[in-house]
């Protein structure tokens, strides 16, 4: 379908290196990364709007690396919709119909289908300058899809929208994808969006791909410290592995299964840290499976139902997210001694 191999782009102050991507037909593929990670550049290279220094882009088995954008059949929708302000909504959507496959009966049907699905019927005569952000983005989607592209590229299509529109467009995207069966490659910095929409996710950082997998795989089994931090793991430490044990400075944790000796990283989620102190002896049993670290509370922040607790254990700083009711029950306050338990199943090993 879309296959990108060894793509490299060098710009002043920024570069993409050895990007390999493969989007299956009809797949919703998400590139996930922080702002400035080079996501827009990848999309523009794929669309032919940016010259590439090396690598190859194939669409349906055809090498399009050296084709101009208008010959590629790749649609793109930007964050700010980039509607043409001098044309009304109908003329915006019909802009591409005079090229390529042209203005056929088929394209008219697609026009009607998109206008219906995206709820644009009563907006057709309006100027894009008088549309809300969500309406603009719906028009931009129709404009890109009416020419029946082989793949649709979405550049942070939800980021510029108000939260309520964001949800609406997100649902529309999912619906459109199911309806049209088109392959979509979307970039975003929002893990929630990626998780909701993406059938396959690739995490990108500093112009390099970090990890590719399903949302669950990325969320549960990050393979690089950056990915772990990005999906909210927060507790990430350099570790030395010795058999089934990981040495984190002065602390030692038991792993679920032995790892080949060497160094790497260990990570766990703040919500997987269970907290205990003297007052809770009743439901704390020493013999229970788990790693127990002793330390003291250094900071405590109530955030409604949950509380964010920072703990210092030897040379490790640990972040725990715990129900506020439990924090109150334990009568926690800064300076108090505390014990943290992390089960080996919740420890993620990255080598």
């Amino acid at each position: 379908m879309i296959r990108i191999s060894n793509l490299s782009v060098n710009l002043p102050g920024f570069s993409l290196k050895d990007i390999d991507l493969h989007v299956e037909p009809g797949q919703f593929f998400v590139l996930l990364g922080p702002t400035g990670a080079g996501k827009t550049l990848i999309l523009e290279s794929i669309a032919g709007l940016l010259p590439v220094d090396s690598g190859q882009i194939q669409v349906h088995g055809r090498d399009v690396t050296n084709l101009p954008p208008e010959k590629r059949g790749i649609g793109i929708v930007y964050q700010n919709s980039a509607l043409f302000p001098h044309l009304n909504v109908r003329a915006n959507i019909e802009f591409g119909l005079r090229y390529g496959k042209g203005d056929s009966k088929e394209s008219r049907q697609r026009f009607d289908m998109l206008v219906g699905t995206l709820g644009l019927k009563r907006l057709l005569a309006r100027s894009p300058l008088h549309l809300s952000g969500g309406e603009q983005q719906r028009v931009a989607l129709a404009r890109a899809l009416v020419v029946d592209p082989r793949i649709l590229l979405l550049d942070e299509p939800l980021s510029a929208l108000d939260p309520n529109f964001r949800e609406e467009i997100r649902d529309i995207l999912k619906h459109l994808h199911q309806e049209t069966g088109i392959a979509i490659l979307m970039v975003t910095h929002d893990f929630g969006e990626a998780r909701f929409l993406g059938q396959q996710i690739t995490v990108i950082h500093q112009g390099r791909l970090q990890q590719t997998g399903t949302a669950d795989e990325i969320f549960r089994r990050p393979t690089a410290p950056f990915v772990a931090r990005f999906v909210g793991m927060h507790n990430i430490y350099a570790a030395e592995f010795v058999g089934p044990m990981a040495r984190l400075g002065a602390n030692t944790l038991r792993l679920e299964s032995p790892v080949s000796p060497g160094s790497g990283h260990v990570a766990f989620r703040p919500e997987d840290v269970a907290l205990f102190n003297g007052s809770m002896n009743s439901d704390y049993r020493e013999d229970e499976e788990g790693n127990t670290l002793s330390g003291s509370v250094i900071a405590l922040q109530h955030q409604g139902v949950f509380s964010d607790v920072r703990i210092q254990s030897e040379d490790l700083q640990i972040r725990a997210i715990t129900p506020t009711s439990r924090v109150v029950q334990m009568n926690l306050s800064p300076g108090e001694p505390i014990q943290c338990r992390i089960t080996p199943q919740n420890l993620h090993v990255m080598v």
Binding site: E44, A47, G48, L49, P68, P69, E70, R72, I74, G75, I76, Y78, N80, A82, L83, F84, P85, H86, F95, G96, R98, Y99, G100, L129, A140, R143, A144, V147, P149
Partner: protein
């Protein structure tokens, strides 16, 4: 801005502003109001005057159109592309603003003379600058180009490149994207650019008088009448030139009415 007690600093700034406005407007108003109605009609009936004002407008319009045709692609490149030496190229475009006007006339003549191969080639093609319509247009184009190019470039820069990119992804060629997206959004800037170019061209005297004393454009005629017959005799011509120009520019400005907001 509402100030209960004017700050001395703001007061000083306002005083300077009023002084400058008076300095600009008083002489003009004085000049326009001095000739009597009779003098004005008499001047208008003078065919030499009509010919000179007409020549000024005609040559300036020719220069404006050439600037539009040749300058638009150049301005587009400057707005859209980065290349080594771009700053130098931009400074070169502004050079005609800095160069003393008689120097411009002399420079153009030295290129168009028999001592230069370009001048000889032009001569063989029957193109002469000295004392011709062509010469006047050449001078006007030289001094007016920076104004057109800078206005058009600012217009192109105001259109987000992403709009053209979207157009390309929808199937438009670079030319298609330019004519269907960029141009409809920038033609007002270009009209403004042509107006500024023409205004600058009509006002040119120093370079034109060197290249072509005859045929006589309005500023040269005003100068001639001033030196030969004095202030009183040159004023009505000057007023007619100003009125015709003002009318033209007001019309063009109206034509290029409110620029739509570009997002």
């Amino acid at each position: 801005m509402r100030l209960s007690r004017p700050d001395p600093f703001i007061g000083l700034a306002a005083a300077c502003s009023i002084l400058i406005l008076a300095f600009i407007l008083l002489p003009l108003v004085e000049m326009i109001t001095q000739p009597t109605m009779g003098e004005m009609t008499a001047t208008l009936q003078d065919s030499d005057v009509r010919r000179a004002v007409g020549l000024s407008l005609g040559t300036a319009a020719t220069a404006g159109v050439i600037a539009l045709l040749l300058g638009t692609p150049f301005a587009y490149l400057l707005a859209r592309r980065n290349f080594p030496g771009k700053k130098l190229v931009e400074s070169a475009v502004d050079l005609p603003i800095m160069i003393p006007h008689p120097v411009i006339g002399i420079a153009l003549l030295s290129l168009a003379g028999k001592n230069h191969w370009i001048g000889r080639a032009m001569g063989e093609a029957g193109i002469r600058l000295m004392g011709t319509y062509t010469g006047i247009v050449a001078v006007m184009l030289f001094v007016g180009l920076p104004f057109f190019i800078n206005a058009a470039k600012a217009g192109f820069e105001a259109v987000p490149e992403r709009m053209e990119k979207v157009g390309r992804s929808l199937g438009a060629s670079p030319a298609g994207a330019f004519f269907r997206i960029t141009l409809p959004l920038t033609w007002r800037s270009m009209v403004v650019g042509v107006i500024m170019c023409m205004a600058r061209a009509i006002s040119e005297f120093g370079a034109i008088v060197i290249v072509a004393y005859h045929p006589m454009v309005a500023p040269v005629m005003i100068y001639e009448r001033f030196t030969a017959f004095g202030l009183k005799y040159s004023q009505p011509v000057a007023v007619w030139l100003i009125l015709v120009c003002l009318l033209l520019f007001v019309l063009l400005r109206l034509f290029a009415r409110p620029a739509k907001e570009i997002r």
